[in-house]
Symmetry: D2
Subunit: 336 residues, 4 copies
């Protein structure tokens, strides 16, 4: 039984994480933190957990948390996460970080896109990126895992096989991604108020979304190529789900029937990537840790469609998958 | 051409009001206020008004506003509205107040339900309630009109005909109402964040909603009976629309075929109340100033279904209807 | 390992059932039927099952199905289910029936509300109603279980404790229920087309919904009283979830603080009924087998709020719960 | 007063058309057709029209319709429309055709994409395409107007100014479009059933959508260039609205501040195209005849965002705009 702790347990990813961990036969949630006053019961913050988990949220520092848990899932915002992670690691805990703090290769890129000096810069470039389908070998021994972003998961999984085989030009990639609103977090904001985003679709952060360098660097790391993307995220009127439509120029003339075999071969041993012939809907993977991918050739161009549940495979499910690999449990435990 | 002003122009009812007024051939919007800094252009706050209205929101006091407009629509919150209304009236403006401040009969009830000392208590009990279908004769000469609440509009219009004829027991009324989220306003709150209320329905303020005394007092005023209701509002995952399902015990045995005639006769000259045979959906009246009502007899009990668009007939459409009556324009101007 | 079969596997309840059964360590799904031509793969009908279950839908008769499975979940429509159930039982299979065919006490009531002659009338009145919280003792030995309706589950669980204690008048009950659209099934119809029911709420089948006699008879069976209800179902713009708002007249003056204890005591040993202090939202139980209930006293009247996921506790979760009891597995297996 | 008729009046575009025409001071709707039996009242088919229009739907042939109306709006499906249009025109009526039948240049392309022999092939290539912003001069004298498709409207309006100035390479265009479900029509289908498309986003008809040749040919007609697009439509969980995100390679290095001026100059006299600096949401134009467009430069590539209400500017609003031009009314009549 592994004792686990959760930092920043009031948001949507933390809620999904707890629901998954409650199904895990080898996990005991021993501590959860929040800065909310009065140590509220977890069920006061997440009514759906009533009767499921008897735990109060506490405003604790990293040392106290590490004394109560072996593995810490940090759902803190960027910058906050990398401020406490060193202390958690120093105290002997293993850390799965949901923030973007340890996903990038270097502090300069971080500063450029996050407008912050990185609090733990020397560790950058050495942290395992927790996408088991690409970096699975590095995860079992990791003390610290950077849990992937939701958009990057859907985009990287679709593109990596083609890039690795040199079948697409890495300088031409267009990722048009559509996400449910839960991806924007649980802090009340005008932009995610119900009547603002219901019955509406809009692009946001065009050319400036922070997942841009993550996708580029990780695809580079995985495939050894310099990757350049145009990434356009959109907000959809739905709770959860991401569908990425990806356009890439082939490096040679491709036939449509070559496409799915490339994907199938790459992911043949992966339990959570499904290569499908039909055009997948984000609902097909809703509530699951699956990534469904298909490919089409349209007028000579490669069109990839990839979808995940942003809260599961795009966050908490991936975290549990990483946890399973870190502790030697079957990869699908609590995820099927 | 009537010069009109709008106080508190950043919310959803103000937006709908402006859209309606832009269709009104006899209206010029000359001033709109907000406490937002920097006098933002109205289209910066409401992008759907781009190119439609060239106006900046100003942080102005009542005297300044009254100097620029003949008729003021106040979309201020309760208490704030009754603080400025006396000055607007004193300056010679006519006022249509969207808040609850002038809807109730007395300051005691106001204090009980709104937890505030009424800022203009002596006027209570003398203000016209702007439901033209019941108080239409009083509106043309009114200086100040209390624009009805959204839930009250749907409930009162359905019940008044039966109460007035003494066909239902006024002590037994149950109003189970369902509303879209725009009714909760445009201020970011956790409860109206998209992922909180999407894919969910919940009751709120059970037994304590502030529209309770409004429905009771206005039905009393209109029908001369002491009315007692159980009112249960619910939040629905939709932008706009209210559907009230109302249960009442008849005072004598009724036949189902008596029901619609009672309603039809009562509203025969009203352009915005539609008595329908089918079970109306809130969508049937979405974007319109209509109230659709039907009636059924279920095991001896009267069941009324009544729906309005909370932002139109439940707020801004009613305000324009009142405006038309106040200024002698055809009642349906800008509303059909 | 129990071999189970599913009749009528193309709908939403069958899909949810399969997802739950795939988590059950003691279940093997060996057969699933449909009248679709060409024996389509289950994943062609339910894309979310891709890679999860390698099974084709077959157009099989009851004898063939019973030869391959020990326990049959029938998701057939009413009348169809009671046509095949006798043969399944005769062949030695145990049957959990999702249809309404075996829920009522007598064939006359069935004929009145379902407009059909009951195909297996002599069995009526002797079949266990599969609501474990009320009839749990009868389930372990049952060959045939009538799986409860979705609306009845939410209503009966809230009302039974008060009726059993004689605290409410059984002749005055009003059940105003709100359901997501999945409750209307997967057959394309104008009324459940997306643009018809999105952004809309409407009542339907007012006074004529078929769950009316089910609620009355089962509450009667459970509490020994003659129960009379007014039941008004509403269609909400959401996939899943039912919230029932219930109004009942007490038989004596009640205090609000008496209410929750009545519920808590009644359900103290039940793993899937949560008595909560807050007003529950249907989302709190979405995707779960929980029924969340609270109670309020409003102007002397009892107001109960009860919610379930119509596809889980209102259908497939309840079926698995019944299955667990029938085969001696822990009640919560595959449901937590 | 122009007498107008509507063919195929049961769908969503016909409903929106009627609502707009009811606001038009110079229009009388004299006839509406449908193949539904029994000549249902229009309000039985569209409950939102109760009390607004007293008309029955009739199953009439083109000659009968032309005898009662001067201008016919055909909301018939493709192929059906071009079957009756010749007779309507021969009878002296003017026709605004909502179908795709007269939008393409040639019968071969029609046969390829619509799998039908064109019923009125000789007229192809000579019919005015009713996009007033590009072909406004041809509309006043037209007997027959091909009303544009919804996706084409959003895409063509955004791209035409840049193509016409030779600023983008016409062989590189990617149009990633997102549409509400009403675009799929009102005929019940599994794919547009509420629980199928709610809480989900999916691409459909990738590389094979019939609006592909329409966009290419019309952009070619308007700009004199051979245009080649990759068009990927997506279904969004919302009623109405289209947002197109368009990617194009510039023919020379562009600066971001050059982009909006190109659009503004092109549309400076157009009442229904709004060039905006912010990223528009589909909701900004919902219920209106506006097309909101903005432009960004992302890593050297032009990214255009364009949105319309698919039922208004993408269908019925455009039709009324065409009608206004055909009959010499102010272009914005009934549309502001």
């Amino acid at each position: 039984m592994i004792r686990v702790g959760i930092l920043g347990a009031t948001g949507y990813t933390a809620l999904e994480l707890i629901k998954l961990l409650l199904r895990h036969p080898e996990v005991e949630i021993t501590v959860a933190t929040s800065r909310q006053e009065g140590n509220p019961h977890i069920a006061a913050v997440h009514p759906s957990l009533a009767g499921r988990l008897d735990l109060r949220l506490e405003d604790l520092g990293p040392v106290a948390v590490a004394s109560r848990a072996q593995c810490i899932f940090s759902c803190l915002p960027h910058c906050a996460s990398a401020t406490v992670a060193p202390q958690l690691l120093a105290a002997g805990a293993r850390v799965i970080d949901f923030s973007a703090d340890y996903r990038l290769d270097d502090a300069e890129t971080y500063a450029t896109w996050y407008n912050e000096k990185h609090p733990d810069a020397e560790r950058l470039g050495k942290v395992v990126y927790g996408l088991p389908e690409l970096f699975g070998e590095q995860i079992p021994d990791a003390q610290l895992v950077a849990n992937p972003g939701c958009y990057p998961t859907s985009a990287i999984l679709a593109l990596a096989p083609f890039l690795k085989q040199g079948l697409v030009d890495p300088s031409t990639l267009i990722i048009d991604a559509k996400s449910g609103v839960s991806g924007a977090g649980r802090t009340p904001k005008l932009t995610t108020l119900y009547p603002e985003c219901n019955e509406s679709v809009s692009a946001y952060s065009v050319g400036r979304h922070r997942h841009t360098p993550e996708i580029e660097q990780i695809l580079g790391r995985a495939t050894g190529q310099k990757v350049n993307i145009i990434f356009t995220p959109h907000l959809m009127p739905m709770d959860r789900g991401i569908l990425s439509t990806i356009y890439a120029s082939p490096t040679r003339e491709l036939q449509e029937n070559e496409l799915l075999p490339v994907l199938r071969e790459f992911y043949q041993d992966e339990p959570f990537v499904r290569i499908v012939e039909h055009l997948p809907a984000s609902k097909d993977v809703s509530g699951t840790n699956f990534c469904d991918i298909t490919a089409r050739l349209v007028r000579g161009k490669l069109v990839l469609i990839s979808c995940v549940d942003n809260l599961i495979k795009g966050a908490s499910g991936a975290a549990v998958q990483n946890f399973n690999l870190m502790y030697g449990f079957p990869e699908t435990t609590a995820l099927y």
